[in-house]
Every structure is written in structure tokens, then in C-alpha cells.
């Protein structure tokens, strides 16, 4: 977590650099996955977050290490920003024994309990009630902890979202629902799924939840709003719902670009590319004469090293042996 007095300009500058570093790292890792995907060694669907990095960076920077998060199919950025282990994630994409799920999950199932990333699953909406349950247990056990449920806007269409929001509101649970509204569910635009005269965040407001909508490509704004939301949830005042407006650059699933297939326009895509959070954060710092280019260059080099190392380690790692197929079906534990 980044804890700096938000008023001073020097701390704002430091904050911007840290958010930039976080976003750059996520993007470089996602791009590295995209570049290597065609080698057919990562044999699982991949849902990349390129274009949406500001959301994860801003949100997770406002959390404590001990806070928890859950996500869905598009979870690489959430996992990484929450502090999930990079090597274990890449190894999981390669289906290896050293992966975070020991090769049983793939890209759509990430977990790093030590980092507070309690799980991501690809059934849309399924982690929303489970994350709500994390917060419920924390409330009953009087823990000082906040849970974040990451979701896409399509997940707000599922019944479980409403059932969970109602319950969280009823019990004033310490949870922040972070909804990245990227306008699409696979190839289906919002227009064919939700009424045009109602914003996504208003639905949560209807459940009596504190709800806000914000530019999800502005990492600083996301961070400050999240900071305030986490404080609110932590203090026991109740849940918060944040709608972060953003856009994925690449295809829904896979490494490529797919504007040519016709479900969205090149013009719309270009307009969102203009709002690239990495470039705009850099620009903002530069304009203020505060950009530490050398620092960011060093960071890029460092991340490049991490990436090379993580992919090399993954490719060296063994596949889980066939004899382990039946391991982990049940937990060995019991509580007599």
C-alpha cells in the first residue's frame, strides 16, 4: 500500500511514479504473454488486461497487504497488483508443477493466498458472493480487513451480484466491489445487455450501497477514491461499489487485436487508445516537470529481467506427473 500525505506535491509525484511503475509492470507482463502465446506452450485461454491497468494499480495501491481480493476470468492484473507471485502465475499459464495451482488451473484460475489473492475463477459472477463471504467472516471474527471483489460490468447482470449486494448492505460488510466497465462482454456491447438510461453504478446504489463512478483510466483518481472507499468499509460503515470506466485494447480472449471482426469500431478503439493511462500519467508528470525518466527506465529494465526469469523458470519447470492426477480432490484435514 502506498501511504503518503496526499496534500503535498512531492508525495503526489511519488505516488504517480509508483502507480506508473505498477501499470508498466502489468502491461509488460501482459505483452510478454501475448508475444509468446502463439508458440502454443501456454495452452489455456488468456484474458489480458492491457488498457485496463490503471484500475488494478490504483485499487491495490490503496489496500494493505493483509486485505483480500478475488476476481474472475480477467485476473492477471488484479493478481499482480495485489502482490501475487509472478513466477507462479507464469508457470501456471504453462501448466507446470510450480504454477500457483500446480498446473491444475491455468490462466483463468489464479490464487496466491499469502498475497491476499484468495482466488479467481472464470464463471462470471461466481466470486462476488464468495468475496462477500470473506468480508462476512471478517466481520463476525472482528478482523480489521477489507475485501475487494473485482468484477466486469457483465457480472452485475448475474443474479448473484444483486443477492450479494443486498446481503453486504444489510450487514454493512467491509467489502469494496470494483467493477471495471469496459463496455463489452466478449463481443456483446452494453446496449444489448443493459438499459441505456441507467448507469451500472446506480444499480448498486439501489441496494443502499455507497456507489461511485469514475474514469478508470486515471490511476491517481482511482487511487484516491479507493483510499476513501477502503477507509469507509474498514470503519464499518458498509460496502462500497466503484464503477471504473475503461476499455480493453485486445480481443476478449487471446493475444491479438480484433477490431476488424466488426463488433466494435476502430474509431472507438482509437479514442480509448488516446486515453492510455500509462502515456497520460507520464505526460502529466512531464508537463509538471516532475517526471523521473531514469527511474521509470530502470523500472522497465528490472521488470524485463523479472519477465525473462519467470518465463525461463516456467519453461524449465516440470509438468505435474500423471501420477498426481488424483491429488487434492479432497483436503486431508478434519476437525474432530
Amino acid at each position: 500500500m502506498i501511504d503518503l500525505a496526499p496534500s503535498s506535491t512531492s508525495s503526489e509525484t511519488e505516488l504517480s511514479h509508483r502507480l506508473l511503475e505498477s501499470m508498466v509492470r502489468i502491461r509488460m507482463i501482459e505483452e510478454a504473454i501475448a508475444e509468446r502465446y502463439s508458440a502454443q506452450q501456454m495452452r489455456c485461454p488468456v484474458h489480458l488486461s492491457i488498457g485496463q491497468e490503471a484500475a488494478s494499480a490504483g485499487v491495490c495501491a490503496a489496500l494493505r497487504h493483509t486485505d483480500q481480493a478475488m476476481s474472475g476470468h480477467r485476473s492477471h492484473a488484479h493478481y499482480l497488483a495485489k502482490g501475487g507471485n509472478l513466477r507462479a502465475m507464469i508457470a501456471e499459464l504453462y501448466g507446470r508443477e510450480t504454477g500457483c495451482c500446480k498446473g491444475r488451473g491455468g490462466s483463468m484460475h489464479l490464487v496466491d493466498v499469502d498475497a491476499g489473492f484468495v482466488g479467481a475463477v472464470p464463471i462470471v459472477g461466481s466470486t462476488i458472493p464468495i468475496a462477500t463471504g470473506l468480508a462476512f467472516a471478517d466481520r463476525l471474527l472482528r478482523r480489521d480487513r477489507v475485501t475487494v471483489a473485482f468484477l466486469g460490468e457483465a457480472a452485475t447482470e448475474e443474479g448473484v451480484f444483486h443477492e450479494s449486494a443486498n446481503f453486504a448492505s444489510l450487514h454493512q460488510l467491509p467489502i469494496v466491489y470494483v467493477c471495471e466497465n469496459n463496455l463489452y462482454s466478449v463481443y456483446s456491447p452494453l446496449e444489448v445487455r443493459q438499459p441505456a438510461h441507467r448507469e451500472v453504478f446506480e444499480v448498486a446504489a439501489g441496494h443502499g450501497i455507497r456507489s461511485r463512478q469514475i474514469d478508470g483510466n486515471d490511476p491517481l483518481a482511482v487511487y484516491h477514491l479507493m483510499k476513501e472507499s477502503v477507509a469507509y468499509a474498514r470503519s464499518g460503515e458498509g460496502p462500497v461499489f466503484l464503477e471504473l470506466k475503461t476499455y480493453r485494447w485486445r480481443e476478449h480472449c487471446g493475444p491479438g487485436f480484433d477490431n476488424h471482426i466488426g463488433y466494435r469500431t476502430e474509431a472507438e478503439y482509437q479514442a480509448w487508445r488516446e486515453r492510455d493511462a500509462v502515456a497520460s500519467t507520464e505526460r502529466r508528470l512531464r508537463d509538471a516537470g516532475a517526471y523521473d525518466e531514469e527511474r521509470i527506465d530502470r523500472h522497465r529494465e528490472h521488470v524485463e529481467g523479472e519477465i525473462i526469469e519467470a518465463f525461463a523458470a516456467a519453461q524449465r519447470a516440470p509438468f505435474p506427473a500423471g501420477s498426481t492426477l488424483m491429488n487434492h480432490v479432497y483436503s486431508e484435514g478434519s476437525h474432530p
Binding site: 498446473g103 491444475r104 483463468m108 484460475h109 448475474e158 480481443e251 480432490v329
Partner: protein, 352 residues
């Protein structure tokens, strides 16, 4: 006129024929009108039949399944499409507790002509939550009909029959069948819901197979031929009703039974087939029946474990050896060279 079509094109053709004949037929589902056309099975249908009859929907499987039940009560004949059976599980109440019951519960006062279409995923990272083969669940429920066609001909004919049936029908496709080619007549025809299909006649052993496993069973039958064993392969095709007569007649002829299902064995269709054989043909059985099913663990995602997980033709051959009281032959389990067991077809390069 007949021509060769892929299974996916046969489904598309079946939709077009049914929608042409009956303006009440309506397609709904996430991604039904999308550019990739739902694995190619709905390509061009929205252009042909309009946005009111071929519709995308909110990401709300439970609610929308209930909505199509109401639409069916009020005169439409909806088909709700799920790209994975796993997504349809969100709608278990409307499918199992509502649709399956209404005809009976209200003494025949209402009708639910709905098709629930579900696809079984497999391979390339589909894993524990995108490839569950739970077709047996639906077969457990009186009031539902359940079909799982294997050939393009049956896919089209059973789809039209399912749409025209006044009862709720669960229509299940295996993702690995979509690229399979076969003869498909043009225009309208139906394949009745219920009767099994004799995929290959034989005299020494009966292999009853479900969906994709029919292809593995046919491959196994060829290998068995070279061992001097004549295998009869029955494509069950219908799960509910299950063709008990066809199973009984074949077992009474061959005296041996192997069941190959694309799913788990415990409390599944394979158990049901063996129960049918025991109940109808106990005295004809020369050996204990065997089944070839998934190992009793969730589907793993990684390619090494997935290859270990999915049963193949060799497993069926091994099971047949057991029914013959032959010694096990380790080469049965050898991984076939050059075949990538996590790809639906050789042209596949991901991502899903």
C-alpha cells in the same frame, strides 16, 4: 438432396429450417449473434431472421432461462443457448424444478416447448469450470428429455425434433464434434428423440457410447477387429428417454458390455446403461460389464494432466479385453503419436 456438412453447419442449418417453418421459434443466448457465430453454429441467422428472433441477452443465465419459460408458455418456441454446460448450471431451478415439472404439476394445463442447448468444453485450458460433463444430471429428471447427437445428420434432425417437441429438451453438443463432417440432407427432416443409433454392427461385445465417445468407440472397434473381436457400437444419442430395447437386444446378442461415457462414472449414464443390461439381460451376460469414464477428479487444466484425464479408444480396447478375460496389454494405454489431446481439431491454435 444431401451434402457433406460439418456438425456446426448442420446445427446452423437445423436452426434455419426450423425458424423458416415456424415463426414462433426464437434463439437467445450470450453471443448467439456474435461475429464468431457460437462456434459457427449461428452464423448469419440474425441477418436472416432479424434481431427479434435471434437475440443476444444479458449475462444472466438463471433469470433469462426463467424468461424463456414464460415466453414458451405464452406461445413462443425458444431455444436458449449456452456456450458451456457450466454456464447453464446457474439455471438449474428453471430447468429442473420449473420446466421439467410444469406439464405434470398442473395436470397438463400448460406446455413448455423450450430447448436448452449446452456445449461440453474440452481441452486447451478449459479445465475444472469450462468442461464439466454433467449431462447425466439432466437425464435424472422426469419431465426433461435429453439428447446428445454425435453425427451431423443426427445433430440437425434431433435439433429440429427438439424444437418441435412440446416438452423441455436439453440438447447437448460436445465441442470436439463441431468440425466432424457427414452427410446432411437439405430441408426439413427430424430424428426421433429416444431411439439409439447402431453405429457399427458386431457380434462379440457391445460398446454403448455417448456423444464424442462414439468416435473413440469406433476407433476402438477397428483395433478390436485386428484382434479378431467383432464389436457392436451403439450411439446412445438419447439419454432420456434411453433406448433400453436397443441396449438389451445388443447385449443379448453379444453377451458382453462396455460403456464409454464422456463424463464421470459414479451415478452417471454409464451406471444407468449397466443397470439396464442387468435388469433386462442378466442371463445373457458372459462377463461383468466394464465402463470407460473420467477419473473421479475435477478436470485439470494443464496439458499433461488433461492428457492423463481423458479416456481414449485404447481405454475402451483395454476394457473389452477385460470382458473377454484376456490379459491386460500395456500398449492399449500408449499415447497416440502426433495427436495433441487438448485440441478439438488439428487446425486449432487457441485461445478457446
Amino acid at each position: 438432396m444431401s451434402r457433406e456438412l460439418t456438425y456446426a453447419d448442420a446445427i446452423r442449418d437445423g436452426f434455419a429450417v426450423a425458424m423458416e417453418r415456424d415463426p414462433r421459434v426464437l434463439l437467445m443466448g450470450l453471443g448467439v449473434p456474435d461475429p464468431k457465430g457460437f462456434f459457427g453454429t449461428t452464423v448469419g441467422l440474425q441477418q436472416q431472421f432479424g434481431t427479434e428472433r435471434v437475440m443476444d441477452m444479458p449475462c444472466a443465465e438463471n433469470g433469462m432461462t426463467g424468461v424463456v419459460l414464460g415466453a414458451a408458455l405464452n406461445g413462443l418456441r425458444p431455444v436458449i443457448n449456452h456456450q458451456r454446460l457450466d454456464f447453464a448450471l446457474l439455471a438449474m431451478d428453471p430447468v429442473c424444478t420449473q420446466a421439467a415439472k410444469w406439464n405434470y404439476m398442473f395436470g397438463g394445463a400448460t406446455k413448455m416447448p423450450v430447448v436448452f442447448r449446452m456445449i461440453l468444453g474440452r481441452g486447451w485450458g478449459q479445465g475444472p469450470q469450462h468442461s464439466q460433463c454433467l449431462h447425466s444430471w439432466f437425464a435424472h429428471i422426469p419431465g426433461l428429455k435429453v439428447v446428445m447427437p454425435t453425427t451431423p445428420y443426427d445433430a440437425k434432425g434431433l435439433l429440429i425434433a427438439s424444437i418441435e417437441d412440446d416438452n423441455p429438451v436439453v440438447f447437448i453438443e460436445h465441442r470436439w464434434l463441431h468440425h466432424i463432417k457427414g452427410e446432411v440432407p437439405e430441408g426439413h427432416y427430424t430424428v426421433p428423440i429416444g431411439p439409439a443409433r447402431l453405429a457399427r454392427a458386431g457380434t462379440d461385445v457391445t460398446i454403448v457410447a455417448f456423444s464424442y465417445m462414439v468416435l473413440e468407440a469406433l476407433e476402438a472397434a477397428q483395433r478390436l477387429d485386428s484382434l479378431g473381436v467383432s464389436a457392436e457400437v451403439i450411439d446412445a444419442r438419447g439419454l432420456r428417454p434411453l433406448d433400453r430395447e436397443a441396449i438389451a437386444a445388443s447385449v443379448q446378442k453379444t453377451g458382453r458390455l462396455v460403456v464409454a461415457d464422456t463424463g464421470w462414472g459414479t451415478a452417471g449414464m454409464s451406471a444407468e446403461v449397466i443397470a439396464v443390461a442387468s435388469e433386462t439381460s442378466f442371463r445373457s451376460l458372459k462377463s461383468a460389464p466394464r465402463r470407460v469414464c473420467f477419473p473421479e477428479c475435477p478436470t485439470p487444466t494443464g496439458p499433461s494432466l488433461a492428457a492423463e484425464f481423458y479416456p481414449r479408444s485404447g481405454h475402451i480396447v483395454a476394457a473389452v479385453r477385460e470382458t473377454l478375460d484376456w490379459a491386460p496389454e500395456p500398449s492399449d494405454w500408449l499415447m497416440p503419436a502426433g495427436i495433441e489431446l487438448d485440441k478439438p481439431n488439428p487446425a486449432f491454435t487457441g485461445p478457446f
